[in-house]
Amino acid sequence: MKLMKAVGNGKRGWSLVILGVMAALLLLPVVVALAPATSLAADEAPAQVQKGKDVYFKTEGIVSGPPAPQTTAKDYPSYDLPYPLSESRVIVWTIAQQHLYFGSFVLAVPIFCMIIELVGIMSKDRTVGKRYDDLAHDFVRISLTAYSVTAILGGLLLFTFITLYPVFFTYLTSLFKPFMHIYALLFLAESGTLYIYYYGWDRMNDGGFLKWIHATLGILLNVFGSTLMMLANSWSSFMMSPAGVDEKGQYLGNLVHLLHNALWNPLNVHRIIGNMVFGGGIVVAYAAYKFLSAKTEQEKAYYDWMGYIAMFLAVASLIPLPFAGYWLMREVYAYRQQMGITLMGGLLAWLFIIQAVLIGALFFTVNYYLFNGMGRMRGSEPYRKYIKYILFLTTAAFLVWLTPHTLVMRAAELKAIGGQQHPVIGNFGVMSAKNGAVNTMLMTTIISFILYQRSNKIIAVPWAAWGNAAMIGMFAVALVNNWWLAIMGYFIPANIRVGLSVPQVVGTLTCLFVGLAINTAMMRGAKLTGPIEWGKISVRSQYGLFALGVSFTWLMALMGYIRSSVRLFWHAMEVFRDNSPWAFTHAIGFAANVMSFNVLIFWIFTLFVFWLGEFSSHKTVPSMVDERQPVGLGRPVVAGGSK
């Protein structure tokens, strides 16, 4: 009955219509995707059937497209610019990277908004609910400017492809044209939804039915966004692992095969999770930026909190990322073994060392932030003495983690060591040691978080001693098990060794989920020693947060480059050869420089976007004084900061 009533109301009626239209648009791709398949079947002319065999699915199909062109150096125009820019590849690389940066940010933020908005709606405490709602709203605002930048960069990328890689782009469009149209349509739908979502935020915020519609729009926005990304992914995964064509690159009339190539799904999953991590990183940096430029205590408090939430979201999404990466790698190996070896052991292996350093930097930053975060809580003093243990374990693990298998050294140093592998630390270079190290780092980070949770509380549950004993036992067993397996790994054949990572990861995940669950349960009814004094965190920690964002950007540039350059001299692996004068793999130093340049450009852009955001800021930021907490316990957090 309530629903009927709602439909009667004009404003609500419109919102339902909008939702309906959006949902209909959602079905569009399915329709379009099926359409050509059926029409092709009808057009089949028996007279001149030429059959081909799918390179991946091994099915027979009717040749219905041109073969991949045999290009020569003349097919690759370039600008007459000084050295690195005279390589068309570098231009495409830079623009594509920027587009991907902004694109993934724009795709990730709605995911957070959706979650935070829902958290806000569900909150029983309206002050807290309002605070989350404002936060979500803030997030969309940041992403709105980025959205237009993404679109502009997308257009730029398109033109760059058309002008600099005309033959390749023509071939790719000849295969993917239906998907490209769907892509364009979805883009429209995404834009529409986004604008309604953002501009309708306050109007639809009636705390009831309309708010739910709004939240649904948020979900819809994410569906559009993810579909868009998956379509675009199919192009890059096609280049790595072509399917739906025969060995000459001739299209065989099956769109699903084209789309569903070997690496499409692993790439989709990896990218969605990766986007969330990356988006979280940007929001973290935004919060840090606002914190550092904040003028009032109230602003400081709010942005401190925002940074905390965003950091939490980014790290939470970071946890499944390695598994997605593992799946992707596995599929790469399964598709072409030498592609996997080029990545992990061959030409590109040196870049994985940089990756290791960056990942280690992430762990350190998170831990450091949590340590500093304890500073804004009264009663955290007893926990500070554990910092040195955590740091030591993390450092030892990181030493192992970053030690490369093959060392960078001079010939004389090599002679002194007696091989590319150092007899002592060379052993840290293999998978077994790395698994042990990364799991150790994960566990120390979990411990940091548990300590952080406890910082301003005195445990009240009667089973506190048992709970602590269980947790200490669990972590001890997990750590010892992890180290033991890491050492064991040296003494058993590789095929068994691969399986060892499973119990290691299981141990870590158990610690994560069970540990946090026990801890949360123990916090029930705990006596607060003081409120979290939002805004009292050190300035250093905010630079740390900024570093977190930058690390993510760097990682993305690095891993993207690795994924892309593993094709070596192929446009589409083993189907369409890259015959451009710059089809060689760059020297590592050069690649690293271009990546760093891309990171720099992106951050200049981003800081500009942040700065633009200042002009449309909220008049006031929400208060961070929590009514549930007794104010009298500590100093008043925000001078006169009640609503």
Binding site: R410, A412, A416, G418, A587
Partner: protein, 556 residues
Amino acid sequence: MKGIVSVGRWGKILLAGGLVVTVLGVSVVFTTAQTGKAPEAPKAQMPGKASPEDLAAGKAIYFRKCVWCHGPEGAGDGPAADRLWPRPRNFTQGTFKIRHTASGELPLLDDLFLTVTNGLPGSAMPSWEGILSDKQRHQVVEFVRTELVKDRDFTDKENETFTPISFGKQVATSKESIERGREVYMNKGKCVECHGPDARGDGNATQKDEWGFPIRPADLHKCWNFRGNRRDPYNPTNIFREVSTGLNGTPMPSFAEALSSDQRWDVANFVISLCPKKNIDPLTTKPNNDFVIKATFVKGELPTSPDDAVWKDVSAAYVGLGSQIMHKPRNFVRLVDDVWVRSLYNDKQVMYLLEWDDRTKSLGTPEAVAQTADFKETPPAGEPIAMRQYPVFNDAVAIQFPSHWETLSAPEKPRFVFGDAKNSVDVWKWEADGSTKLYTGQGFDKLEVRAGDSVKTPFVGFKDGVWRVMFTRTLTTDDKEHDVQFTTGKYIPTSFFVWDGNNGDHGLKMSISTWYYTILLPPVPKKAYIYPVFAAIFVIGLQFWMVSKFKKGSKK
């Protein structure tokens, strides 16, 4: 309230530091067993019977690690033996070179253990320390001496004696001791007869061992190659021991009777003094290669003789040489295993001085030229390489550069032996017949002589087992297509080849080095003196700014 012991702040720091050092020290003591090197012979004891467990364990080790060279019967005839020089030990007769016992006696078990532990540098026998545990090494020695030494019995009390040498009182090395040692070497000891006047093993190069295999007296300038050096090449104790015991099975006699212990110490000190002091790589027991050949700038004319004073200030680079075993004919025996390289340049020319030890000066014979057809195939397995007789060819030496190193993007180079199809090399080769020729190489089989006389050899000489050859060329030439061009301050890949004519070295049968670098040392750039001043001024400015800012801040 103060603590029980009152210590200052620095005291505390020292205390903490001391604790750390103690912990480290203890762990070091526990993990290193190599301490104390006072010369003392191991106790001589008639060994008892080996236990069956040790024999079984030793046998398993022997048939995994040792059998490949020493053979299933221990006759030194394993699958590898025929391609090895020196040939692996034949255990059957119980003849062992490296001992503490008197000439002709069996070695102590400790001697065998030390040999297995340290290997025999200069031969294929590696050090087994770290690969086999102490216990395993003992076990394999037990197996060898019980089962494989067939003609003699270590436990035969009637026929076997073990008289360890006496080290006497060690004579510390000194100018006088070395001089006395030289005197003994030249006269009383008659060492010079085999080892040669300059002690480069060139006295008598045609000796044979007990089994009829050719054997050469040691080159005493290469202590890292002494079989008995126990991986401690600069320690005279090992020389003293060998002079005292002699080397069973070889023409090297024991001097325990002929020379007093002091005289033997003097000889040992003298021998060690001959050996250039280099850092010895513990893994290969060879000197570390000096991968950069630094050419020093000379004002005015370059020297015309290797004895010119200008060379004294130029350090010689050690270039290790391996055998060309990559391409037919594979060369399994190379008698020249290093060459010392020095380089100079002036504003017009670059000069190299190459010095290497060769026991004989060889000039090609007509007979050899007639047999060059045999030099295409690898010597077959199954024919003892140590017995192979070669006709005599020219001694020769060559330097190789990439023809166009400046256009190659680092680290790419031509293939290190005679280049490849893509990247050619420029080879300067001098032969003992006095010819100096230029070659262009594009692969093993594609080394072609080319016309040109830009490379000169202003000095060539052979004396007492050492060849010395000087090469010069102008820094740049007109033939940019083939000739390497030298530029100051750049790393120019360089490698070396040596042929020992007496060993049948000819064509691809030769000693080879890997790629080294020549660099013509540029003068120190002016900015190296200017920039530091700027940096210092900048820091001073920064300091003043900080201090003044800080003072202002603290006044507030």
